[in-house]
C-alpha cells in the first residue's frame, strides 16, 4: 500500500483528505486503484489511458513521465505526490 498526497486544489475531490491510500505494482495499476477508491480524485488525475497533462505524478520524488511512464514499477510503501500547477503569488 502506498500513500498518495493530495494537493490542496484536489482535496474537495478526496472529501478533504490530505492523503489517501492506493496500491499497485505499476503506476498504471496504482492510478486505476486510486480511481476505484476515490473516483472523483482519480478522474482528475488519470483519464483511463493517460495522466492528465496538467498534473504531475511523482513516485518517491521522481516524475513518472520522465522515469518509465505508466508501466514503471512502484514499490510497496511508496510516496506518491500529485501536483498540478499553482498560479498564486501576487494576490489582489
Amino acid at each position: 500500500m502506498s500513500v498518495v498526497r493530495v494537493p490542496p486544489v484536489l482535496r474537495s475531490e478526496a472529501g478533504g483528505a490530505r492523503e489517501v491510500e492506493a496500491s499497485g505494482g505499476t503506476v498504471r495499476e496504482l492510478l486505476e486503484d486510486l480511481a476505484t477508491r476515490v473516483p472523483a480524485l482519480g478522474e482528475k488525475v488519470y483519464d483511463g489511458t493517460e495522466i492528465r497533462p496538467y498534473v504531475n505524478v511523482y513516485v518517491d520524488g521522481e516524475d513518472v513521465r520522465t522515469s518509465g511512464g505508466l508501466d514503471a514499477p512502484v514499490r510497496d510503501n511508496a510516496t506518491i505526490v500529485l501536483l498540478p500547477a499553482m498560479a498564486g503569488g501576487r494576490g489582489r
Partner: protein, 382 residues
C-alpha cells in the same frame, strides 16, 4: 643584543630573496601580500592573496595548504617580507622567498598592478555580517551591489523578496505591478502599510525599500506584464527574475521570454497552506513548460483571491525565493535547479521532487516549436 638593522641583515642572510623578474618565472607560485589593509587597498600584485603580517602564521595554511608550493612573499620594500619568509620556513614552507624591493620596486618596474574596488566605510558597516561570511565577503557583497533583480509582482511573494533583497544590498531592484494597495493585502504583503493604502504598489514598495537601504536603486513599472511590454522591460538588463505572479498567462510569458534571453527565473507559487519553489535556469535545467506543459483547467487553478492563503506562507516562500536569488547573484551554493521544493505549512513539511528538462519542450527543447510570443490568455483558457 642585536639592533633592528643587524637583525634584518641576519634574517636576510638566512632566507632566499628574488627580484621581480625571477619571481615572475616561478611556476605555480602562490603570491602573498603581507602589508596592512590600507596598503593593499591602494593597489597590489594581481593574483596575490592578502594576509597581513600579523595574521600570517595563523592564516597561511588556509591560503597555501600545500607546504611544498613555492610562495612569493612581498611587502612594500622587502623587509617585513624577509621576516615573514623566515617564519614560513619555520612552519615548513621550504620554498618561500621574499620579493626584494617589494611592491614599490614592482610598480616602479612597470609590472601589472590591481587596484581593488572596495566598499566605503559606511557600506562595510552596513554589510558587516555578510563580510564576515567567507563565501560572501567583500567580493560577494560587491557582486550583490552590482546585480539587477526584477520582481514580477509586489504582493505576497514580492513583498518579502523586495525587503530582503534591499537589505542584502542588491544594487538595482525592479518591480512590476499594476495594482494599488488594498486593505486585504496587509494580512501578508509586508512591503505595504496603512500609510500607503490606495497608492500604487510599486510606489509603496519603493518607499519601503528606500527607507531600508539608500544603496538600492529602484526601477518601477506600474503596468501589467504582457507580450507588448515585456521586451521593453527586459531590455533594462535584468540578471535574475523573481516570479511572484498570480496568474498562468504571466507565468508562461515570463518563462518564454527568460528562456529566449537566458535569464534565470526564481519561481514561487502559493495556495492556502502550500507553496512551491524552484529555479528555472535556462540551459542548465528545466523550464516552466518542462514542468507544466499546459495550465490546469480554471476549476483546478483558483487564485489566492478566490481560495485564500495563510498570511505567513508567502513570507516563507518569498524568502526561500530570495535565498535562491541572492545565491545566484553572489555565485555561491547549489541553486534549486532541477528540484522543486514543496512546503506544507500545516504539516511543517518540506518535500523535494526532481524535475527534468523535457527534450520535446516547445520552448527550451531540442526542436522548439514556439519561438515568439503567443496569445497567453488564450493558451491558458482554452
Amino acid at each position: 643584543m642585536a639592533t633592528y638593522r643587524e637583525l634584518l641583515k641576519q634574517v636576510k642572510d638566512r632566507i632566499e630573496e628574488v627580484d621581480a623578474r625571477q619571481a615572475r618565472e616561478l611556476d605555480g607560485a602562490a603570491w602573498v601580500d603581507v602589508r596592512e589593509q590600507d596598503e593593499w587597498d591602494e593597489g597590489h600584485i594581481p593574483g596575490a592573496a592578502h594576509v597581513p603580517r600579523g595574521n600570517l602564521e595563523s592564516r597561511i595554511e588556509n591560503v597555501v595548504p600545500d607546504r611544498s608550493t613555492p610562495v612569493v612573499i612581498y611587502c612594500a620594500s622587502g623587509n617585513r617580507s624577509a621576516f615573514a619568509v623566515e617564519s614560513l620556513r619555520a612552519l615548513g614552507y621550504e620554498s618561500a622567498v621574499s620579493l626584494v624591493g617589494g611592491y614599490t620596486d614592482w610598480k616602479r618596474n612597470g609590472f601589472d598592478i590591481t587596484i581593488p574596488r572596495k566598499l566605503s566605510p559606511e557600506r562595510r558597516a552596513r554589510y558587516s555580517r555578510h563580510l564576515l561570511i567567507p563565501e560572501i565577503g567583500e567580493e560577494g557583497q560587491l557582486k550583490l551591489l552590482d546585480s539587477k533583480i526584477l520582481l514580477i509582482g509586489a504582493g505576497g511573494l514580492g513583498s518579502p523578496a523586495s525587503l530582503y533583497l534591499a537589505a542584502a544590498g542588491v544594487g538595482t531592484i525592479g518591480i512590476i505591478d499594476a495594482d494599488i494597495v488594498d486593505e486585504s493585502n496587509l494580512q501578508r504583503q509586508i512591503a505595504h502599510s496603512l500609510n500607503t493604502l490606495g497608492t500604487p504598489k510599486v510606489d509603496s514598495a519603493r518607499r519601503t525599500i528606500e527607507a531600508l537601504n539608500p544603496d538600492v536603486e529602484v526601477t518601477t513599472y506600474r503596468e501589467r506584464l504582457t507580450s507588448d511590454n515585456i521586451d521593453r522591460i527586459l531590455d533594462d538588463g535584468w540578471d535574475i527574475i523573481v516570479d511572484g505572479a498570480d496568474n498562468f498567462p504571466t507565468r508562461y510569458l515570463v518563462n518564454d521570454a527568460s528562456v529566449w534571453r537566458g535569464i534565470p527565473v526564481v519561481h514561487g507559487s502559493i495556495y492556502r497552506f502550500e507553496g512551491q519553489v524552484t529555479v528555472f535556469k535556462p540551459g542548465d535545467g528545466p523550464c516552466y513548460r518542462c514542468l507544466y506543459p499546459s495550465p490546469p483547467p480554471p476549476e483546478l487553478a483558483p487564485s489566492c483571491a478566490e481560495g485564500g492563503v495563510l498570511g505567513v506562507l508567502p513570507g516563507i516562500v518569498g524568502t526561500l525565493q530570495t535565498n535562491e536569488a541572492l545565491k545566484l547573484a553572489a555565485g555561491i551554493g547549489d541553486p534549486l535547479v532541477g528540484r522543486l521544493l514543496l512546503f506544507d505549512a500545516l504539516a511543517t513539511d518540506f518535500t523535494e521532487v526532481h524535475i527534468k528538462r523535457n527534450p520535446e519542450c516547445p520552448v527550451c527543447g531540442e526542436h522548439p516549436s514556439i519561438t515568439e510570443y503567443i496569445d497567453y490568455v488564450e493558451f491558458c483558457t482554452r
